[in-house]
Amino acid sequence: MERVGATWSSGARWLVTRPVRAFEFLRRYPLLPAVVLVALVITGIVARIVAPYDPIIGNVRERAVPPMWQDEGSAKHILGTDHVGRDVLSRLLYGAQISLMVAGISVGAGFVVGSTLGVIAGWFGGIIDEIITRFVDMWMATPFLLVALVVALVLGQSLIILLTLLAILAWVGFVRVVRGHTLTFKDSDYIFLAKVAGASTWRILRVHVVPGIINTAVINATLNIGTLIMMEATLSFLGVGIPPPTPSWGGMVSDGRNYLVDAWWQSFFPGLCIFLTVLSLQFLGDWLRDYLDPRLRQLM
């Protein structure tokens, strides 16, 4: 905390007015994003308990009820209902659950696979490095959305396939940063001394390399979850993501598209959820990067 405090006071000369100061404080410490994300995780976990209605079965006699603060709205449905009478709030809560689960699992898988390959490529170099790096480059030059569409078409729409797709989207980023970081360690004195002292390759990797790259990988994971949530939402929006009737934010935006004029809330709130979640993750990732690894600090 000492370091953060120091930059705070040196940056303080920029701050003239109080509102800016408050804004700067919120920007420097990820209080709001943390609150949003914690709330999201909790609602995701307890969706079954707090959701007022069933997210899948609606009441057809209560179609397109507006949110409660509008004239025709009622307190029964806080954020209104959709075109088949399902409670929007309940669907949002369950949507949070599935969005977070999908993003979390795929980023976890990407983390493990990508970091491992990154360390291997960086450490051993040579032909192994060449193969892994070239493969990553090739994958990055391939239009992911197109591949995802074709895969979803061929193998059918299911959660497992979606998870796999997102995991293979996630891992390349890890390979890149972790490999780069491993390379900078490789020639350092303490690794050399460890070799002189007779440590085995496995021990050097485990004790000296992995702890060094773990921060980088964690930062990358935080910055990546947002991208994955966005991609999942996009795929669901296009109808190849989370299979309906399971509620997903992207799918909800898509469902409400045709009822925009009469029932804007149906598309508006799920989109807002995606936006706030990704924004919070962005803030948190940036903050984490500055906090854990000042060398990566950007001027932004």
Binding site: A141, V150, L153, L238, V253, I274
Partner: protein, 313 residues
């Protein structure tokens, strides 16, 4: 440098083969394309006819042979015929590419017009209200889903105030009105990235010795910024702009769906549902070529503009 170019060309070749092979195999593992013509089980076609079609499409040969046959025809400029309308794939794709490229250009212009000047402004007037506005704009651009932005824009500007059309692309006349909303939805994310790039590049340059020197010898404020500063700071954003343009062409599927834009992305979506594999493989080919080609040009341009950069490998 020549070595670098050669390596990149080989890399592009491998990427093209890898991506097309992947999609080719996948689409052939999907349901039988012949089912597109007749209902399932083959009602309406005799067994001989069914076999005959299979022979015409080359299904009697092993998959890998089929792929190499496709590759051979592709090198001669023949991507086969579409299954749904039996027209040459090249013609169909070329017909849609124009609409997509126009939209990409619109989004590109909006991204550059907003991203670069506001990036400069935000760096020069650091920690001012302009800086915060610009950064908020950038943060929003990175967190807003393009499809939602598109829907909101339609809702606000087309449905509520009836100012702009809600989608579609008029044929014949060029109407700017139709381009505004899709361009904004498509380009916001890139505008945000450009803004960030420009801002951080500019901050770095403004902090350098030669800018301080220019200032101390009495060069006027904005002249320092535009002439001495921007020229050096703009290298990275400008070269990335090429890749951004390629990204718009290959990545505007969602926006085309939202705005019912008759481009490549919609063609692709339609082909996915009908499993019109000649179109799918053709699209992948075009996408990968465009994307890798633009990235290649950007790399070369980068080395040319900035002599400090020379590629080792």
């Amino acid at each position: 440098m020549q070595r670098f170019i050669a390596r990149r060309l080989v890399f592009i070749l491998f990427t093209v083969i890898g991506a097309t092979l992947f999609v080719f195999v996948l689409t052939h593992m999907a349901r039988d394309p012949r089912e597109l013509w007749v209902p399932q089980g083959g009602f309406g076609a005799s067994k001989e006819q069914w076999e005959q079609w299979g022979k015409e499409l080359g299904f009697d040969k092993p998959l890998i042979v089929q792929y190499f046959l496709w590759l051979g025809r592709m090198l001669r400029g023949d991507l086969g015929n579409t299954l749904t309308h039996d027209r040459p794939v090249i013609g169909v794709i070329a017909g849609k590419l124009g609409a997509t490229a126009q939209l990409a250009l619109g989004a590109w212009l909006w991204a550059i017009i907003v991203g670069v000047p506001f990036g400069v402004l935000s760096a020069v007037k650091r920690a001012s209200i302009w800086d915060y506005l610009a950064r908020t704009f950038a943060l929003f651009g990175q967190a807003l889903p393009a499809f939602w932005v598109g829907i909101l824009l339609i809702w606000i500007f087309a449905a509520m105030f009836n100012l702009l059309p809600s989608g579609g692309r008029p044929t014949g006349t060029l109407s700017i009105k139709h381009y505004i909303l899709p361009s904004v939805a498509l380009g916001w994310h890139a505008a945000a990235n450009l803004l960030r790039f420009t801002r951080s590049g500019m901050l770095e340059v403004l902090d350098s010795e030669y800018i301080k020197f220019a200032k101390s010898k009495g060069v006027r404020g904005w002249l320092v910024v535009w002439k001495h500063g921007l020229r050096n700071a703009v290298i990275t954003p400008l070269t990335s702009a090429l890749v951004i343009l390629a990204g718009f062409i290959t990545g505007n599927l969602v926006v085309e769906v939202v705005f019912t834009w008759p481009g490549l992305g919609r063609l692709l979506m339609d082909s996915v549902w009908t499993n019109d594999y000649p179109i799918l493989v053709g699209c992948v080919l075009v996408y990968v070529l465009l994307f890798a080609g633009m990235a290649f040009i950007a790399d070369i341009a980068y080395a040319y503009i900035d002599p400090r950069i020379r590629y080792q490998t």
